[in-house]
């Protein structure tokens, strides 16, 4: 009995089974991402009211806040996969962690750049050495460290495990970023949206932000699935199914 449920649970944990599943899921996620980001941008730019203090420039938050959320969220997800990989010695988990890292780094970079765009008109400076900005910058370095460590080690097994340990060590930074605006009373404003209190912004603004977040989320899943497929192809090129000419998907990509 246990054996049967196990097989169902872990069926897609083999790269061979995951590869076609990822291929089937990817277009749906991509379509959802395009739709949600389109709707989110429309609400954000045309429906949401102009801010009485900041004017039009505040509208960058519809990209900035979701990107910052995703940057932290993806780091945690990456670390969880890395931890699962170390704990269960599962190669696909390491592949997942590897596939997530570049997207996470991209969102961190996007959050920093959009933050600078917002900071210039609002604070009068592109960059300030504020606790949240600095810790977000550290996050970018941590993503870079995870990716660099992986590429510097030739043996893929060691590369997987070493970068997983580093990803797990770096997790301490995520709560620091999240609570930085509460722990240090600095320039970056506190959270406007929280689970426990009523949001301090207009409903349309909140809707746009949440729709954009969902869109970014779908985008991340789509891109990570594509990258996961590339990683699987690259790593499984020696195995029989990976080079088998009858496998339609593989031939297409080659």
């Amino acid at each position: 009995m246990m054996g049967l449920t196990r097989i169902n649970w872990f069926k897609y944990s083999s790269p061979q089974a995951f590869y076609p599943l990822a291929g089937r899921m990817m277009p749906w996620c991509a379509a959802a991402a395009i739709l949600l980001i389109g709707v989110g941008l429309y609400i954000g730019f045309f429906v949401a009211p102009t801010d009485f203090q900041q004017g039009q420039s505040y509208r960058i938050i519809f990209v900035h806040v979701p990107a910052a959320w995703m940057s932290m969220f993806l780091y945690v997800v990456m670390a969880i996969w890395a931890g699962i990989g170390l704990g269960l010695n599962a190669r696909p988990s390491f592949m997942m962690a590897q596939a997530i890292a570049p997207t996470g780094a991209l969102f961190t970079f996007l959050a920093l750049v959009t933050g600078a765009m917002w900071g210039k008109p609002t604070w009068g400076a592109w960059w300030v050495w504020d606790a949240r900005l600095t810790s977000e910058l550290i996050l970018l370095f941590l993503y870079g460290g995870v990716m660099l460590l992986r590429t510097s080690i030739d043996d893929s097994r060691r590369a997987d495990r070493a970068s997983a340990v580093f990803a797990l060590v770096g997790v301490v930074n995520v709560p620091i970023i999240y609570f930085s605006v509460r722990w240090w009373n600095t320039l970056h404003q506190g959270a406007s949206v929280s689970m426990t209190a009523a949001p301090k912004m207009a409903a349309t603004m909140l809707t746009a932000m949440l729709v954009m977040t969902l869109g970014f989320w779908m985008y991340s899943i789509a891109v990570i699935l594509v990258r996961m497929r590339c990683v699987i192809l690259e790593r499984e090129r020696q195995s029989s199914w990976g080079t088998h000419p009858s496998h339609q998907d593989v031939v297409e990509v080659h």
């Binding site: 550290i138 660099l148 460590l149 070493a162 060590v169």
Partner: protein, 227 residues
Amino acid sequence: MNQPGMLAALREIIRRDLLLALRRRSDVLTTVLFFILVASLFPLGVGPEPAVLRTIAPGVLWVAALLSCLLSLGRLFTADYVDGVLEQMLLIPQPLSVLVIGKVTAHWLISGLPVVLLSPLLGLQFGLSGEALGVLTLSLLLGTPTLSFIGAIGAALTLGVRGSSVLIALLVLPLFIPVLIFGAGAVSSSASGIGAGAHLSLLGAGLLLALTLAPWATATSLRIALE
């Protein structure tokens, strides 16, 4: 039951590493000289204005301490790794974390403690006053062991990897940043009269956190590197 064995192993590892360092004194001297040199570059670069020097002193001395720690990290495991001793050490009956704690302690005694002891002198050259000097020394005393513990993770992860000396800096420096912020913050806030208590407490908390988690992470990384 196993306690005396573990402590004996810890003592032996520290003794061995200190003995090795004593036989190669130039290694120790390099780190200390580097610390002094980096700190002395700033008055030359920024200019000898006493007020400016006093303001930048905490940050400069902390960055110099951090860089000199980084400089010596490469030696933490490399020599033992190259001659195969490390592989034999993995076979000792005591937990690997004990070995790591021993090696990190020896590393701190060799490269961290001299920096701590020298810092009041350099602080004096930067024009820090009596109380700020004490806080600087105390903050370094609490902070540099944390740096050694965090650095050990990076040293173990990059063991035998090509370009490891640059890679270790990229991995470890971001993790050093919180220690730097609280360490330099303690001195600055004591100099401006707010009191250094909060920063020093955070440094102590960071040390305890590093003491509990870093040996485990380092031990895992060593096993990964040597398997």
